[in-house]
Symmetry: C2
Subunit: 237 residues, 2 copies
């Protein structure tokens, strides 16, 4: 290919990477603001998070279209093809992270008038810290094409799952203490599940990074801390 | 293109459609069996559903790879390109339907020893009937390239959302009646959320069918019955 065409092709691939980084930044902000809104019972902030979601959807569709057009026009091979595939997959995971942050914000709007059991939110804040770090590390792993960082995210996911178990047990306790806590705590239960699922998407992103760099798929079973407990009677999933 | 190449190309596109139909069948079966397992407290059946999931993941990856290779090799335009894009998107939605069915089965394994409040499952069965019909109709809409059927699925999603609201209220009532119902009912709450999300994926599939046939995207806001209630204090999402 002529020099001009090669440079144009490189620019296409670089543009994909920049768009992913932009999407990642929007999702990170949505998550941080959703959790601020939840812990501060901040209705305005919650509304702002919900209204950010369409922008993320539009970015995801744009990235998917650009990646597919690049495949159709350039017929890339090997790592260049994987760049396009990775952009499609990662943009999908980031879009769902934003969706989950939006759902946390919508829950805040439900519970803001019930403001019970503030200490029940402590466990969620801990989950959020881990989930936010996992998201940042997964996005960094992609930007740097760093498989070590990606594998670390994959490994750390079990911390989030373990924390979700303990949050579940705490919320159950609050609900059993006082029936007036039940409605509030069920919304927090859904928030904890949303945070755990955000963690799952960060491991998806990490698996895609490893695939992108090495051409190999990672094992499909991630290290769920509860795999060993499969089938046992357990209070939490 | 020579006749031979055109036929080979058509076969590639037809194969994508058949694989989607196969995936759809697996997901439909997983959902039916997960709900049978839940209402019958059937541990063996629940385990079988969970072990079906890797097959669905493998099918999804295969379809995605074949679609992308077809794009790279044939450089399709217009509706043929949309066939490949549709296959990628729909296989992703079907894979997540299977995942949600698997999650319902895993919840069954959690609650099987607690078998309380059988009447709490009635609402879930009603949700399942709608979700299963939506899934079948969405897959039929794709197989027949039928935009009317697709739009009907999109419209009917609000029925499922309304049912989820009433199931939420019922489960809250059971929990407040007796603290010993709380753990059991929280698991059913998650199941109802899983069924509602399956409904969301059937509307995604329907939007993709309309895009496939017409080249136009549908409005991004589906007819959620609760849009009008956004921001009000409501017990359910």
């Amino acid at each position: 290919m002529s020099d001009h065409i090669v440079k144009s092709y490189d620019r296409d691939l670089e543009a994909l990477g920049r768009r992913i980084a932009e999407m990642g930044g929007v999702a990170e902000k949505m998550l941080a603001e959703a959790m601020d809104a939840l812990s501060g019972f901040n209705v305005d902030l919650a509304h702002r998070v919900v209204s950010s979601d369409p922008r993320l959807d539009a970015l995801q569709r744009e990235i998917e279209e650009n990646a597919i057009l690049t495949i159709a026009r350039r017929q890339p091979l090997a790592v260049d093809l994987r760049e396009c595939i990775a952009a499609i997959r990662i943009s999908g995971d980031i879009e769902r992270v934003g969706d989950l942050a939006k759902n946390i914000a919508k829950r805040t709007l439900k519970i803001v008038s019930e403001a019970r059991v503030p200490r029940a939110i402590v466990g969620l804040k801990s989950m959020h810290e881990i989930a936010a770090m996992q998201l940042k590390d997964a996005l960094d792993a992609y930007a740097l094409r760093d498989t070590e960082r990606a594998r670390a995210v994959w490994q750390n996911d079990s911390d989030l799952d373990a924390l979700e178990d303990s949050v579940f047990r705490d919320l159950l306790t609050f609900m059993m203490e006082d029936p007036r806590n039940i409605s509030f705590c069920t919304h927090l239960l859904f928030c904890s599940k949303n945070l755990e699922r955000i963690g799952d998407h960060t491991t998806n992103i990490s698996e895609t990074v490893v695939y992108l760099v090495t051409g190999e798929a990672m094992p499909t079973e991630r290290p769920k801390s509860r795999v060993a407990d499969f089938g046992k009677d357990e209070a939490a999933q």
